[in-house]
């Protein structure tokens, strides 16, 4: 009796899932969902720093203001670097899915170069500001600026290290399922940094330089 009941139950549930058309989600979907939740939590952390910057952006303590400090030409080049590196990152992921390995290596070399160019420009800007006496200890505005923009820069640095590791994994392990999943996670991370940069560009630089 018990056994019969059990088989009936499993039969019923199997039919139910078949009728729903909703079996277990593919691993690809589940992994992307988990990583997406991590990215959202990262964005929420950034939102706290954005709120701090928005509150403190006027508190210059008699020091240099945003209008004095920001060079928009530099910022425009940084934005272009990030946008194009996001593009090449997407193309590289597509190339691995289609097993076109030379395309992948070229795309990810470009992604790394553009990310490094962004980081170099940002560090040059930071050192120029600190050299001009506008370091993070000058005013509340500058503390908020350096922690917000600096945290984005730290994320870019982590992404650059991650590019090296993921490229090595693709080279050594080949385009297998788990490598592809990690590659897609990296791709999502890199695109998310773009989204944060858009907010930074609008709130900090474009609003500040007016």
């Amino acid at each position: 009796m018990n056994i019969n009941a059990a088989t009936e139950f499993t039969d019923g549930s199997a039919q139910m899932t078949a009728a729903d058309g909703a079996g277990p989600a593919p691993v690809r979907i589940v992994v992307a969902y988990g990583f997406w939740i991590f990215l959202l939590s990262d964005i929420i952390m950034f939102s706290a720093l954005f709120a701090a910057y928005a509150v403190l952006s006027g508190q210059t303590a008699g020091g240099p203001t945003a209008h004095d400090l920001f060079e928009l030409r530099n910022v425009a080049i940084e934005t272009l670097c990030l946008l194009f590196s996001s593009y090449t990152c997407g193309l590289g992921t597509l190339a691995v899915e289609r097993r076109r390995m030379p395309h992948f290596y070229v795309s990810f070399a470009l992604t790394f170069a553009l990310g490094a160019a962004f980081l170099g420009l940002e560090l040059a800007e930071f050192s120029r500001m600190i050299g001009a006496g506008a370091g993070p200890s000058r005013s509340a505005f500058l503390s908020a600026f350096f922690s917000l923009v600096g945290l984005h820069g730290v994320h870019i640095s982590v992404g650059l290290i991650w590019i090296v590791f993921i490229t090595a994994q693709v080279a050594v392990r080949g385009p297998r399922d788990f490598v592809l999943r990690r590659l897609r996670c990296f791709s999502l991370f890199w695109h998310a940094l773009d989204i944060i940069w858009i907010a930074l560009l609008s709130l900090v630089y474009l609003m500040g330089a007016r």
Partner: protein, 148 residues
């Protein structure tokens, strides 16, 4: 019969010919694939990335234009920049993250909605509270007078 049902109404119908049961020319050896795994499902296409890049460049250009010229009424520039930034975030979500209204994306969209809610609460809440505190704070000259 249930098997044939499952094949026709499986979760991967509509995503293309790359489901793990049917041999596709591009797939690597499928012997080690379990049924729930379809890693070869494409994540976007070159066209969608290119379109997304063009939209993003146009919106970024518009942001710089709005902030650097007198095109918009000056008090409205902040609103204009916010609208452009949100539009560009939407472009990135659709063309780079491939967020869609499909059944695979329901959870992602719900999580995004929750994230947007929390971000809005943190940012507007902080601005609102700090604005009120600023308004109600005694000027420092008055504090000095009280101490004397």
């Amino acid at each position: 019969m249930p098997d044939s049902n499952r094949k026709t109404s499986g979760p991967s119908s509509g995503t293309g010919p790359s489901s793990s049961s049917s041999p596709s020319p591009t797939a690597t050896p499928t012997a080690d694939r379990s049924p729930g795994v379809d890693e070869d499902a494409p994540s976007g296409s070159i066209t969608s990335y290119t379109v997304g890049l063009l939209f993003a460049l146009a919106l970024t250009g518009a942001s710089f234009l709005v902030s650097q010229t007198q095109l918009l009424w000056a008090p409205g520039v902040a609103v204009g920049l916010a609208v452009l930034a949100i539009a560009q975030m939407g472009v990135h979500l659709v063309f780079f993250f491939h967020l869609s209204s499909g059944p695979d994306n329901t959870n992602n969209v719900l999580a995004l909605a929750f994230g947007v809610l929390i971000v809005a609460l943190v940012v507007t809440g902080s601005l609102w509270i700090m604005y009120n505190l600023n308004l109600n704070m005694m000027p420092s000259s008055a504090i000095m007078e009280m101490r004397q």
